[in-house]
Symmetry: C2
Subunit: 249 residues, 2 copies
DNA sequence: TTTTCAAAGTGTATATTTTACACTAAGTTT
DNA sequence: AAACTTAGTGTAAAATATACACTTTGAAAA
């Protein structure tokens, strides 16, 4: 359901943008929306942007990020974590972006500072549905992301660095996988995100030793080879303060 | 020199706040300013705040942080790093803070999102000088910081976590020390900031093995015991991407 | 000048962790 | 039944982390 607030409830100085990462078993994906330019411009690659919009004047930042994500993509109830604020004076200065701002913003020339948010999801748990100014919503392969609108490539670069750091120090890989998964999916995920070729046996030993995984009695089905045992993630307290001692790889 | 821009150049929705950490050889310090309440309130502990203020409409965020720091404390030319955005709806809602906002802000009731910045300095390199709305500027012992104005305790907590993480993974301890320093000062610094009692010999071996320190032919002077050899920090490339491999302790 | 004090400076043995490395097992398809 | 594909498993060597205490040196006090 879209919000039906009015223009004068908008904070014209502050927006939020969301980087939602997903993993399909092979590559890392990012959720992008294609702006509806209503024929004011040819559709080109650069009309892809991160889901985001201005906040309301009485709206918490994180609530705004959730609301915008829901309004544009249909994704609800996501745990979002802040990346940081992006406020360059020229972040809205590209010609194509100006065309779009003129079209949809009450004060298109307003200087806007955006707060970036970031989430990890299991793609299969979410069905995306374009709405609002989003003509299409897609899971774009991270390595094939071209030039995005505004400063969104910059925000995305900041997000991937954060993701990599998190992967090393916190048990977050599981968030990108289904509840039950074979260890090799986790292994592929690490290699993909970290651009590495970790030693498989050493990886499996170490990831099991963390104590965050529990083997189940379920096995893969429908695969044309020996089915692997499925594991699940064990929720247990994670002392963020001891980050440095905890190398997940 | 203070900026002489006018009220209508102010962005009433966005401010910056700076957490400047220093180290005096014994304890970690934070730069705080005491607001000048001009007798509208008794002076109490809670009138201490982080140096910060609204940004100008055409001002880069980091430039704003530098400018505000200079205007309030006289500290110039500091490398500032962003902590994040703080935007709770009630962050300006304390009674004492409202009194102050009424006194100094053109639109005191405006909802303001602040961007936190963070810096590490060698206290001795900077002379502080209160100006602007700062009645006093002090280096407060980190462990003795009481209730600050606004959400500044929250910003400070976020900053100390960032500092601890940086200390583990990046060569930043040196920024808090003079150019030439004895190894025990570095050792004390780590123990102080990390609340730990590291093994001294192991610490010295490890910190030297990083290759970021170079011994000099200078020694401490004026100490009532055997003077220690002074070391200096060697600038060399630090691959932020390899953070996880680099444990400084 | 001798003694005392305070911090500087230094090494080793043991435990733990990391790394490199390759074959057999099991289920599916042909 | 053979071929294919991924699952699943152990060990030895190297590197790193840890625990631990005495001697040296200069300044200050007696």
């Amino acid at each position: 359901m879209e919000s039906n607030r009015k223009t004068n409830n908008i904070n014209h100085s502050v927006s939020v943008d969301c980087v939602v990462f997903g993993f399909d078993g092979f590559s890392l994906k990012v959720l992008l929306v294609q702006r509806d330019l209503r024929d004011n411009l040819d559709n080109g690659d650069d009309t892809l942007v991160l889901p985001g919009d201005l906040i309301y004047i009485d709206e918490d930042l994180e609530d705004a990020a959730s609301r915008v994500l829901l309004d544009l993509t249909g994704i609800d109830n996501l745990f979002l974590e802040q990346i940081g604020a992006f406020g360059s004076l020229n972040r809205l200065a590209k010609d194509r972006d100006k065309v779009w701002l003129d079209l949809v913003r009450p004060i298109p020339e307003s200087r806007v500072i955006t707060i970036g948010y970031f989430a990890l999801v299991n793609i299969k748990n979410y069905t995306i549905r374009p709405a609002g100014f989003a003509k299409h919503v897609i899971w774009e392969d991270f390595n094939e992301v071209g030039e995005l609108g505004f400063d969104h490539n910059h925000i995305l670069r900041t997000a991937i660095i954060k993701l990599r750091n998190k992967l090393y120090h916190e048990p977050v890989g599981f968030k990108l996988l289904p509840k039950y998964f074979p260890l090799n999916h986790l292994y592929t995920l690490y290699n993909t995100i970290l651009n590495s070729k970790l030693d498989r046996r050493n990886f499996l030993r170490r990831i099991l030793k963390t104590g965050f995984l529990k083997e189940t009695d379920n096995f893969q089905e429908g695969v044309p080879h020996k089915p692997a045992r499925l594991y699940k993630f064990i929720e247990k307290e994670f002392e963020n303060d001891n980050n440095h001692k905890f190398k997940f790889y």
